[in-house]
Symmetry: C2
Subunit: 529 residues, 2 copies
């Protein structure tokens, strides 16, 4: 992929959560007294005692002992130790001659099923100094997550999947370090990862056999701190790799990272966080409690499934406007290229406009007997074919929306709240980034809140990973969030099925929850009391 | 080597220190609730939580996670976890189906410059169930320690030396496990090692370049807990390997282990521990304080150096008696074989008898102008040559004895005590095991205490290693002993040199410190007041 290609995978939204800097890897410059007959402590013990004085007990791996001795001697006993978190306390990551404490870099990674994004973070300031993205190398073994879970059921398959994602990450590491004149295996002292539960398993080379069968038990939810050499990442061998804990097979560390990035777990207002991708996750709560559910969002919003569907890449129709009087269709493509298809957010935009233009009814059916809308005629499309939104596309979307609505209602009922109690809304992920709030509200996918209460948090998994690099307190918070979330399993939930079946109206069975949509429909004569 | 050959390397003395069993690796049988929709904790987290409940936080290495999942499922959630100490707290060593808690084995190892002894220990009872010994595989690169230190000055040499000792240990492990129907890589859950500082460095693959040059700074004194896989030992990969901490280049973990085994650090009586081998170490103290010094014991007692010298093997003259009237020489050989030479303890025995028979004077010189004594005539020796003790052999011994006396006096003066204050004496190591107390006292190598106050503690390094396997408290004690010992460096000590020069009398410049020797000399008319 070219840089240009990758840049479309990188989301620019970023919630600004301020954290007290307390990075998970610290560089400590030390100046030791030279050994002599009156102070004959051994080299490694001398270093350990000094680090203990500065930061507390530090484990020192056997592998580093030879280099400690030579670095200390060659540097005249003035050296910089990088210490990183381990499961309990600190362990030595590297030792360098002289004072290199000004140069300390970490990698915050979001491993998505389709896309991998790596942020190069200055661990002294917390600033993202560069970012790069690529497709997850596992895609070649299967676009969808189930194919990969199946493939990784045995050790050999799991190892194959692991190599694929590690290679992707090492590619990003190489690119980022070259572009910023760093030596990754010397300068990158820590990695943190936000990923869904399956991606975490595949990243760690763990069997995935039980993730997709009842009772949906992952092999591990909280893998703890892992040393990069165990994974084959081309950063410092002893760099700690922190992985956000999952809650279950379908509520992963990427969502925990997203919650952390949103800050909803620290506020009293009732917030809703929605991340719709291949899977959909919904989290609701505040500083006191949190409930969540998740499920396959269905194929509606995936590139390859809709009649003219494609990924959110160059040439994808991402915005659609329909004049409600003339029914004329206007559109916008990513990169301004000749249109090649419609991406997920374009599809939602189109369906919302079709509804507001009276082309489809509240149940998502075409009013006039037709079964598709031509968005771009064959003469203007880059493929030579009509680009359309079909009745099937709309029906698929209605199922996704129905599932989101049913899940949300289930969560609301479980805590005795109503839609009207929601005080803030966070749209997470790529789909949430591209999707127009107005269209999402129009269709009832998002709640009808004052727009200033609705926030796009972009790649909140990556941003959460950045926070984890910069703050041990954030890692503690993430663990607390994961431990305290009440998770509702939808796969075997009859009440969810009932709600799902009855929730396929645009925007909602009860229009009163959607005052702005109601007003617009009234204005256009589409709703008469 | 044959078993028979090895058996002569294994010392049978053993001090019986009772410890409250608290082994460094514990096997814990757990019966977990099966996961279900109402309890969907992940496999690894489920195990970790249960272990946490039983024993406190347990780190779980990524490498073990796949097997945890399959073992738990295949065993119906009834399994046995072995947890071992790590630098802080516990980490998982293995997981097995069903209840295997009755079968838990450790290996206590004494790595000597020449000999390696491994004790197979039942971790549930503390019993030594088997023992095996072999020569240190590094011997082929050099008998003496300096050659090996020189060889291991670069990484390649250090790796070579490490492979040699690891191969020796793996040979012992194979032999012990086969003989006891164990699978070492499944059943041996822990290893502990007592060794001198150089041997520890070579065992760990560490450069030894600075051990033998002033200011004699080791690379590490306290390496902490290392996982066996890092060393390539053929026991469980995650088995903790505990190594006794050293105090300095010439006071190693073997001595700390010996002190631990003797128990002198827990009593109020003033005790002296002497371990004479290639190096000599002297420790003095009690529960309140401890002082020590060490130095090359010189070549006098090494097999290959004396005129008719050999190692303490089959055919070595190990005991000598001389009739003080007829001057007739009687001797005993190891294994009753035809005599091939004289080992170190035989040499000391012979010199003591020569002194008591009036053949040599108090300064160690032959009285009658001759310069050797024939112990075994050529006609009866297994080599066809005379087996002799030469004036040179005696002079070499006098230097060793002088060094021991000088070091002891230095220690006594440093704490304001005299020889008469010593209340208990521990003879450690192979030389101490073979050496006759009477001969050693006669020559002033050992103090003249009531004989019931003199204790042979045999392979106290190996016994200390056994205690470390069985008791975390002992590991704490060892760390405290090493931290609190005051070590006197003799290599650059002028006072030591002065004492050394003036201490070459048998048994001592001041005969009053040696009442039993004085009495015997009087009885034989060799001493007239």
């Amino acid at each position: 992929m070219t840089d240009k290609g990758n840049s479309s995978l990188i989301l620019q939204d970023r919630v600004s959560t301020e954290v007290e800097p307390d990075p998970i890897t610290k560089k400590i410059f030390i100046s030791l007294p030279e050994p002599g007959l009156s102070d004959n402590r051994a080299d490694v013990d001398r270093l350990r005692q000094e680090l203990g004085r500065v930061i507390g007990p530090v484990d020192i791996d056997l592998d580093l002992m030879n280099s400690i001795s030579s670095v200390l001697k060659e540097s005249g006993w003035r050296a910089t130790a990088a210490v990183g978190i381990c499961d309990r306390g600190w362990s030595l990551v590297s030792i360098e001659k002289g004072d290199t404490s000004g140069s300390n870099f970490g990698l915050a990674v979001d491993i998505g099923t389709t896309t991998v994004v790596a942020y190069l973070v200055d661990m002294n300031t917390g600033d993202v100094i560069d970012v790069e993205a690529c497709y997850n190398g596992q895609v070649k073994y299967g676009d969808d997550i189930l194919t990969r879970i199946f493939r990784a059921q045995d050790h050999e398959g799991a190892a194959l999947m692991q190599r694929a994602i590690i290679n992707s990450l090492n590619g990003l590491i190489l690119l980022l370090s070259e572009r910023n004149s760093l030596k990754a295996d010397v300068d990158i002292t820590a990695v943190s990862v936000g990923a869904n539960t399956t991606m975490v398993h595949l990243f760690l080379g763990l069997d995935t056999g039980n993730i997709c069968v009842a009772p949906y038990i992952p092999l591990v939810n909280d893998p703890g701190i892992i040393k990069s050499e165990q994974l084959g990442l081309n950063v410092l061998k002893k760099a700690p790799v922190y992985i956000f804990p999952s809650v279950g097979s379908y509520l992963g560390g990427d969502i925990i990272a997203g919650i952390l990035a949103s800050g909803m777990h620290k506020r009293n207002e009732l917030a809703l966080l929605v991340d719709i991708g291949t899977n959909g996750e919904i989290v609701m709560g505040n500083a006191q409690w949190m409930v969540a559910c998740a499920g396959a969002a269905g194929p509606a919003l995936e590139g390859g499934v809709a009649a003219s569907g494609m990924r959110a890449e160059q040439g994808a129709v991402s915005e659609i406007k329909i004049d409600h009087l003339t029914k004329e269709v206007k559109y916008h493509t990513i990169g301004g290229h000749a249109p090649l298809g419609i991406c997920g957010s374009g599809l939602v935009d189109g369906i919302a406009e079709m509804f507001l233009a009276g082309l489809i009814d509240r149940s998502g059916r075409f009013r006039e007997g037709r079964d598709y809308l031509v968005v771009v005629g064959s003469s203007r499309s880059g493929t030579g074919k009509d680009i359309v939104i079909s009745q099937q596309d709309i029906s698929n979307f209605m199922r996704t929306k129905g599932a989101v609505n049913a899940a949300l209602e289930l969560l609301l009922e479980s805590v005795g709240c109503g839609l009207g109690d929601i005080e803030r809304f966070y749209a997470a992920g790529a789909f949430g980034h591209h999707l127009d709030f107005e269209s999402a509200v129009t269709l009832g996918l998002y709640p009808d809140l004052p727009r200033e209460k609705m926030v796009k948090i972009g790649n909140s998994s990556g941003e959460g990973a950045r926070l984890a690099l910069m703050s041990r307190k954030c890692i503690e918070e993430a663990r607390r969030i994961a431990a305290n979330i009440t998770y509702f399993e939808l796969n075997a939930n009859q009440e969810f099925m009932n709600k799902f079946v009855s929730s396929k109206f645009i925007p909602h069975t009860n229009m009163d929850y959607y005052p702005t949509v109601k007003r617009r429909l009234r204005e256009r004569g589409l709703l008469v009391d």
